[in-house]
């Protein structure tokens, strides 16, 4: 790996990495990662499953069966492309819009659904996935990721940490402080900025005067690259190099993925109030799943019929998972007390016992 990209794609010069265009054609053959069929199909299946799960979640919410949910629709390539380039053991410190990243890293859909259904137990992911729970606080996840990486360094573990943040999040003090800190500490950290162009109702231009978000790396003294976020191959290649850079002790990297939030901020948001549908239509033409499908079909690794079958399979699976989650009911009383400390404090024990007694009707 020559770390060519960082040199050849300077965000300050507005150079954006693209490999696979919106028609599914390789336009930068030199940089084609030449992934095998298995890998590409895995990526495609994750993206499609993620999309179906996403669409369904919004539907369930509208039906009153799911709580507030932040859609990922349109950001599948950003998320899957990046994760596909990681090694086992690498960490993900997410925000809250990383459904596809989590799926790719091995977090069961059931967990993800259970969390958005309103039960923290959903966040108890399989530990080996090395994925932290959804983090609602903007920006905190970056320093945490830097710490994960710093720990790996000191223990001789071959691990890097990836933090995912949105365009809006890059305005936050914690983001700016953390990338500076990580640079000074030479932490093995890669930050993916999912620039989906909207922070609730705030367009990207209001978030910062900087022309790109990747160039914030310059001030921190670290590497930054801007990538076509809907191009799964470009995301893969960028992350591959970035991970290698960080892993080898050369310091953190920022990857700004240019993508689009096709849906609302969350199911409680109405984007038609603040954005132009024309913009949405333009971006629809650049759909990430579409272009990968076209590419796969062009390579004869996939067909429209396969697609139909997969769609059916995905829908069935999602429905089954959600049905299970819907049966899960409420959290037991103990759970709200048992995980705050390693052992309940005397006050907690007292409060728990008293309330338990009250519920059992013994409120004499």
């Amino acid at each position: 790996m020559n770390h060519v990209l960082m040199k050849n794609y300077d965000p300050l010069l507005k150079q954006t990495l693209e490999i696979l265009d919106q028609n599914g054609k390789i336009i930068n053959p030199d940089l084609d990662p030449k992934l095998d069929k298995e890998t590409l199909l895995k990526m495609y299946k994750t993206m499609t499953l993620g999309r179906v799960a996403d669409v369904r979640a919004v539907q369930y919410q509208r039906q009153g069966r799911m709580l507030t949910f932040p859609p990922n629709y349109g950001q599948e390539a950003t998320q899957v492309g990046a994760m596909a380039a990681l090694k086992e053991g690498d960490w993900l410190s997410p925000a809250f819009r990383e459904l596809n990243m989590m799926l790719y890293k091995g977090v069961p859909l059931e967990n993800i659904y259970l969390y958005w259904y309103g039960n923290e137990m959903g966040s108890k992911f399989p530990k080996e996935a090395h994925v932290l729970p959804v983090n609602i606080i903007i920006g905190s996840q970056v320093a945490i990721a830097a710490g994960l990486g710093m720990a790996a360094q000191r223990q001789g573990k071959d691990e890097i940490a990836v933090a995912s943040i949105g365009d809006g999040g890059t305005s936050h003090g914690d983001f700016n402080e953390a990338i500076n800190f990580a640079g000074a500490m030479n932490a093995p950290l890669v930050v993916i900025i999912q620039n989906n162009h909207w922070a609730i109702s705030t367009p990207r231009a209001v978030a910062t005067k900087a022309e790109t978000l990747a160039q914030k790396a310059v001030a921190a003294g670290i590497k930054g690259i801007q990538v076509d976020g809907n191009d799964v191959l470009a995301m893969y290649v960028a992350m591959k190099e970035a991970a290698e850079h960080a892993r080898s002790g050369k310091g953190p990297v920022i990857i700004e993925a240019l993508t689009y939030r096709m849906g609302a901020h969350t199911t409680s948001d109405d984007p038609t109030l603040y954005r132009d549908n024309k913009e949405v239509e333009e971006w629809a033409k650049k759909d990430p799943v579409d272009r990968l499908r076209k590419y796969l079909i062009s390579k004869k690794w996939w067909s429209a019929k396969d697609d139909e079958a997969l769609d059916e399979e995905n829908n069935k699976f999602v429905q089954e998972v959600f049905a299970k989650v819907e049966q899960s009911g409420d959290e037991p009383l103990e759970d709200v007390f048992n995980y705050v400390y390693s052992e309940k404090t005397p006050n907690q024990v007292e409060q728990y016992e008293a309330y338990k007694k009250f519920l059992e009707g013994g409120n004499k």
Partner: protein, 326 residues
């Protein structure tokens, strides 16, 4: 056995734990090369190297944030926030991440970080170098908060904090950092978190205090016992959160009178919590109202006015008299 002051006891503890446990790392602003502005970490970088004892940029939020990540991935960070007044940028990480990661992940990930902070006033310092943090921190479920009052306790509590599976904030009463020395055993020992200490037994009144305030309390008690011919029970709270209710309540049941003395501001201060506790558990034993003697609801003044806010021995004596004569 060596006689050490508070700073030396802390230094010895860090040294001992760095040696014993390769997962321990010590970092913060100026703690590496210079050894900390109070010299608490003096000599440690030289001994254990830059990877384990190091300086950071001025970035409290990230100091705590990275510590969280390091703890999740197997290390034992013992970090320093240089002064109490600087904790606020890190408050976000403390409340939303440090205190909650275990709960959020249902036990998958834990954050056993130790945060050392020089705390409290009485040093004629600049603004923001003399804050009391008990209420802010004590109100956060998911972390523990301790404050020693002697060198012996400092080592015991800091060791316990480092061994704890939960995040612990170790408040250091800076105005007594070098006031006096005490015998501190060479070997490792622990003072359990959550256990107060009865410094002195008595029958007529219970006084609870912690950290540097005990100096004035002890001096006041000595005098007032003779003057009024009473005996006062003095309790060092030692752990701000979780509170050792049992020790306090048992004492009040015996004496029937309760006084808590603290430097922190009055309203919504830690004294209110202890009085609520006494009210709940020892109401029928009270012969006088449970009382708090506290700092004012003000910004702690600079050097020329600081003495107004700090509580002196005479104030404590007067309050004890009032209670005993109720």
């Amino acid at each position: 056995m060596a006689t050490l002051n508070l700073i030396q006891a802390i230094n010895q503890t860090l040294d001992q734990q760095l040696e014993k446990n390769p997962k321990v790392v010590v970092y913060g602003e100026d703690v590496g090369f210079e050894g900390g502005v109070f010299r608490a970490t003096q000599g440690l970088q030289k001994k254990y190297g830059v990877a384990r004892v190091f300086d950071t940029p001025i970035a409290e939020s990230s100091i705590v944030g990275t510590a969280i990540g390091m703890a999740i991935n197997g290390m034992k960070p013992v970090i320093e926030i240089q002064f109490d007044g600087f904790i606020f940028p890190a408050f976000n990480q403390i409340v939303t991440q440090l205190a909650r990661t275990r709960n959020r992940s249902r036990g998958n990930w834990t954050t056993p970080v130790v945060i050392r902070i020089p705390a409290g006033g009485g040093i004629k310092g600049l603004e923001h170098h003399s804050e009391s943090l008990e209420t802010y921190l004590g109100h956060i479920p998911g972390i523990k908060v301790v404050m020693p009052s002697t060198p012996y306790d400092a080592k015991g509590l800091l060791t316990a904090a480092i061994y704890s599976d939960d995040p612990v904030i170790f408040l250091e009463p800076k105005r007594i950092y070098r006031s006096g020395k005490q015998e501190v055993p060479e070997e490792e020992y622990i003072i359990p978190i959550g256990k107060a200490k009865v410094l002195k037994e008595g029958n007529n009144l219970t006084v609870v205090a912690w950290g540097a305030q005990l100096r004035e309390v002890n001096a006041a008690v000595k005098e007032v016992e003779e003057e009024l011919n009473i005996s006062v029970e003095v309790i060092d709270l030692r752990t701000i959160s979780p509170i050792d209710s049992e020790t306090i309540v048992e004492s009040v049941k015996k004496t029937g009178r309760f006084l808590v003395v603290h430097e922190a501001m009055r309203t919504y201060g830690p004294g209110a919590e202890l009085i609520a506790l006494v009210n709940e558990k020892a109401f029928l034993y009270l012969e006088a109202p449970a009382t708090r003697l506290t700092g004012f609801d003000i910004v702690i003044p600079l050097a020329r006015g600081e003495h107004h806010h700090m509580i002196n021995k005479d104030q404590i004596k007067a309050e004890i008299k009032k209670l005993v004569e109720f």
